[in-house]
Symmetry: C2
Subunit: 387 residues, 2 copies
């Protein structure tokens, strides 16, 4: 009778995440790195104590949604407005530089007639930043609501939208498209609808907040709004659910009880959900057998992906008058890749632009970027503190 | 692409649970009643907005485990020791009185040669108290750690063990048994192992607590211990997981940080998990077509089940020198039935002692007892407050 196996899975993952998180902090690395390593260790890749399951991946999804919702709640709207246009430019550079480099890399390895489109697709996979790990690292450092933190978060959100457009265009080149204009229109519509309805939502919550300060109903209703917007974003607008969750947070970030809401969500998140998200990254990792050429390609793929973001976003940030050190931080913060890269790869597989082998490269990229980014960010922030 | 449908389900359930919870309180009923009604309304029985899913039922399971863990954490060991033997007697009366009445009821309706065993089985279904609803109601009233609350909770835990033994014996009469002695031995062994190892666990947590007061690692490690013990109880000892969770709470209840742990678990629980448990009860309810005789039987079944506990536990409590009012509270508190009754019915179906029709009666019992008990308890406690 193993119908309650998920209870044991939860116990093992939460315990391992906390233990390795503490260990990571002892050696000077961010706690999230320890949690990812914990997932890698107890998962199929090493010990095999816990297998990925639907339940765990859905819990993990709730975890990353809570994380992005908190990031949104903690947003300083003034800073967001200040950094908005810079973030847009940085996001564009962060999409197109890695894309160009990725295409070039693929053609170096597997060049030949008719390979350009496949190369472009490899570039597309490289272009999608998943900011959740960076958000967690910045939160740990207490720098999430600084100018640099706000820039990274909003650039990553815009990156998500540009990524969707690029993906649609590239898939469109194979003739499998559902209409690029439609996709772009839907993405734009999401922001119009979310921000437009946001004013009404904000009014309702302000009223709730004023009449029922510090009661449970405010954080619970907020969480429901966040979950619903995340669902709507992904299901009807083709935008990642975490983008919806972040926008929900931004809508509510000026409430006087925003801190109270954030604290409630944070406790649920650190007690259960967030560790499941981070261990989930490690849990999903299992390496299939690879040949030497693919291995070499994978290593180059990871290096180029990371450098592409650092160079693209970093130089662009520098051009936007950030200091050299801050530009480096922004570049580093944009390096993380996550599920969006996997989902993109999955779409490439369906469209015949990719073989399943390349999933190993993508998984390696997610794992390496998730571990390296927080470590480098912490190092930079410790050595050269900024707002 | 409805892979994120579970996000919408969560949003709807959490929102409806809170809204109806508030409504219930407005009309003087306990909040849990509103949450159950919310599940009934949005579920397949009425509106059909949300369907039961594996994810939701696993979340609900975590919710009830957290609830019982909190009940354990809030235990006053001195009161538990004082009330221990009384609780044992009350539990016995609470098993055998409904069982006798249930057998008689079945024989009245469906009597005939060879029906005695089936009657006994119907009685067995009636015997299993599920205390979680009562625990939630008492918590809402702030009476969980009183003498009456402690008696009800510990009686229900003992009831679970007696219920398992009775079930094994009755199934054993059909010749399908896996050895009653073995089952009883395993159940006893659980308490020996859990309490024996509990001393070591308590030492470890005391050390943690003293060195890392008010840090996240203490509540997280506690929750892991609770989940693991719940898993072990159900998987290896044949005891309900919630019993394991409660015992885990009792083991840790004397920690100086027990209140801190409880608060952390409580926030996770009320933000997400507990409402999913309560709405889940309503969600699982859907009535199949019934004939008049079965309907009449179902109504009698519910009445006899409720009265059986009130009479059995109440009279026994009175005999144990509780006041008349407190005896009534204890009887009322033991009325709730839950998943154990369904699981028992499921086993009867496999053993050929029951037809699927009777599930309607069992579901009706769970629903009615879950709604009626908190209302009556609140009324009693409001009119005649006791410790």
């Amino acid at each position: 009778m193993d119908s309650v196996r998920f209870l044991l899975d939860l116990a093992i993952l939460l315990f391992a995440a906390k233990a390795f998180g503490i260990l990571a902090r002892r050696v000077g690395a961010p706690e999230v790195v320890g949690e990812i390593v914990a997932g890698l260790l107890v998962g199929p890749a090493v010990l095999g104590l816990v297998d990925q399951s639907d339940f765990l991946s859905q819990m993990a999804e709730v975890g990353v949604i809570m994380l992005m919702f908190e990031a949104g709640l903690g947003t300083d709207l003034k800073k967001l407005r200040q950094t908005g246009w810079k973030a847009t430019l940085i996001a564009c550079a962060g999409v197109f530089v890695p894309m160009a480099l990725g295409t070039a890399l693929f053609l170096c390895f597997y060049g030949g007639p008719g390979q350009l489109l496949k190369g472009l697709f490899i570039g597309t996979i490289m272009s999608a930043t998943s900011v959740s790990i960076t958000v967690a690292a910045l939160k740990e450092l207490g720098k999430l609501d600084g100018v640099v933190g706000t820039t990274i978060t909003s650039a990553a959100i815009i990156d998500d939208v540009i990524g969707i457009i690029v993906l649609t265009v590239v898939i469109g080149m194979t003739g499998n498209s559902s209409g690029s204009a439609l996709v772009i229109g839907k993405a734009a519509l999401f922001f119009v609808v979310a921000i437009g309805s946001g004013f009404v939502v904000y009014k309702v919550f302000s009223w709730l907040d004023a009449h029922y300060t510090h009661t449970r109903r405010v954080p619970i209703a907020s969480l429901c709004y966040c979950l619903a917007l995340a669902y709507l974003a992904e299901t009807y607008f083709g935008i990642a659910d975490i983008t919806g969750a972040y926008v929900a947070g931004v809508v509510l970030c000026n409430l006087s009880d925003a801190g109270y809401i954030e604290r409630r969500v944070d406790i649920s998140s650190y007690m259960v959900f967030a560790p499941l998200f981070f261990t989930g990254i490690g849990l999903k990792t299992s390496f299939s057998s690879v040949d030497a050429k693919l291995l070499a390609f994978s290593v180059c793929f990871v290096i180029v992906s990371l450098l592409g973001k650092v160079i693209g976003c970093g130089l662009c940030a520098r051009a936007c008058r950030f200091s050299g050190r801050d530009s480096l931080k922004i570049g580093l913060g944009m390096m993380t890749r996550g599920e969006v890269a996997l989902i993109t790869a999955q779409k490439g597989l369906s469209a015949g632009l990719l073989t399943a082998d390349f999933f190993t490269s993508v998984i390696l990229l997610i794992l390496v970027s998730s571990i390296v980014t927080p470590i480098l960010l912490k190092r930079e922030y410790t050595k050269y503190p900024t707002d």
